[in-house]
């Protein structure tokens, strides 16, 4: 703990890295909120549950593999791949059954449907698994070269930050240069016009849910490894915080989601480190209220349309 008049640089760095790690996870999940909002202007409240399902899938796969004697990075990779596929399938299905039938309905209807989906998925996992917290093995490898810095940044933190950076870069490339990415941007900017140039908008929407869910599953595996335990409700609070990050950065904006995640992560980390750790979750929501009052479009959001 910092004390006395001297500025404790190590403590500051530790908080900065802690905030960066936390913020990375928020960013990974915020990307899904922001992409879906960009395309269909829906706040997908079930997105946090997709992340939770990703973590559960990874836990199940990792347990089965470990029981069968597998160890090391191959467990991480296999568990992650299955978690990503499984979460993507859930995201795809949720859109098809809960949102697509309401495409022409008033805007409140899909929102209510989203809340319903969120509650349903939590209870489904609660019944199918357990209400207890389950220990989650640290699947992330220990990197020996990080040993000297472990008081500031451990291997886990480094891997989380690097994975997030890589995933964000891949997503940016995908959106900017691939045909599907361009179709997503066009759909976000003018859905009917996208149809008029031949974009299959239903397919674009499905793919947006798939990509967002995959990113959330990656976040799920990383954070579960980091924290070491999961239960059916972890998607709720993390989901709301990632949503806060998306609004903070400017909902609909991809760089905004990343920036919002990092700002939120740092706010929480420094506020709990220097002010008080009793109110950890309060800071996020204070930030959300402030941004909604003073800059409702978010840091990078444009006042009217700035989407994907």
């Amino acid at each position: 703990m910092s004390s006395g008049p001297r500025f404790d640089m190590d403590y500051f760095l530790e908080l900065a890295i802690g905030g960066l790690t936390r913020g990375s996870i928020y960013a990974l999940i915020a990307l899904g909120y922001t992409m879906v909002y960009g395309i269909i202007e829906l706040i997908n409240f079930a997105h946090g549950e997709i992340y939770m399902i990703g973590a559960f899938t990874a836990l199940i796969v990792a347990s089965v593999l470990t029981m069968n004697g597998m160890t090391g990075v191959s467990v991480l990779i296999l568990a992650s791949v299955v978690a990503v596929l499984y979460a993507a399938a859930y995201g795809f299905t949720v859109e098809k059954i809960a949102y697509k039938p309401l495409r022409q309905a008033p805007r409140l209807s899909p929102l209510i449907s989203a809340i319903g989906m969120s509650i349903f998925l939590q209870n489904y996992v609660l019944i199918a698994q357990t209400s207890d917290f389950l220990p989650f093995p640290n699947l992330l490898p220990v990197l020996p070269f990080m040993e000297p810095y472990s008081h500031i940044m451990g291997s886990t933190e480094l891997i989380i930050v690097l994975t997030t950076a890589l995933a964000t870069a891949a997503l940016t490339f995908f959106i900017k240069f691939t045909k599907l990415g361009k179709a997503m941007r066009a759909t976000a900017q003018d859905r009917h016009m996208a149809m008029l140039v031949g974009v299959n908008v239903n397919r674009v929407i499905s793919n947006t849910f798939i990509v967002g869910s995959a990113l959330a599953a990656i976040g799920g595996v990383l954070i579960a490894s980091h924290i070491g335990r999961i239960n059916f409700s972890i998607g709720f609070i993390t989901g709301i915080k990632a949503f806060t990050a998306a609004v903070l950065g400017g909902i609909g904006s991809i760089p905004g989601a990343v920036l919002g995640g990092l700002v939120l992560g740092w706010t929480e980390s420094f506020a709990t480190g220097y002010v008080s750790s009793d109110y950890e979750d309060v800071f996020a929501f204070c930030l959300l209220v402030l941004i909604l009052i003073f800059r409702p479009a978010g840091i990078l959001g444009r006042s009217s349309v700035q989407k994907v």
Binding site: A186, Q189, D190, M193, M195, V197, G198
Partner: protein, 237 residues
Amino acid sequence: MAMLELRNVETFYGNIMALKGINLSINEGEIITLIGANGAGKSTTLMTICGIVPPRRGEILFLGKPIHRVEPHEIVALGVSQVPEGRRIFPLLTVTENLAMGAFLRNDGGEIARDIEYIFSLFPILKERRHQPGGTLSGGEQQMLAISRALMARPRLLLLDEPSLGLAPLIFQLIFRIIPKINRENGTTILLVEQNANMALKIAHRGYVLENGRITLEGAAESLLNNEEVKRAYLGL
């Protein structure tokens, strides 16, 4: 066989009936114009043909094939492109990206690049602006881009919704020179919705007059130009 045929087409917005039984037919190679006052249902007709606002009753045939229950992107694939009212440029995509979106369903990369060059020769200003977001273009430039984007699909039938609206005289003339040129050189069939009935009837072969969701007059362009009712209502004579 007509290229496009509408038979008793009725289109609704909720309970409001916007098209009240439209019959219309377009032959391959023609320029047809659809004139009518604001709110008559001209834009709705085009959006109905494209599947964005599908008809509740009636039939639409394109090359003999029913398309009134076909998805919009599949109608584009059949060869129907629209330049919608208000241009609807993708504001955050660059000029080149907007053009590439026009060719979304094509897979012939080399040909697409050549078509973009052709567009740039038609509208050199678009070449100068090619890296700019579409939203930063002037109204006239956006109209050129909107027409070009539609051409990038190499449509057999091109639907144009008030392409001259709000344009400066010079651009206006350019657009009205380009439309017959597209028809002549590419053999593209054109359905032109226009406020400026005089100009439209001068370049069209035939015309339809739409009033309150119904076709009230149709005929050869010259005969409509000389029709007393048309003169009074739409030509300001």
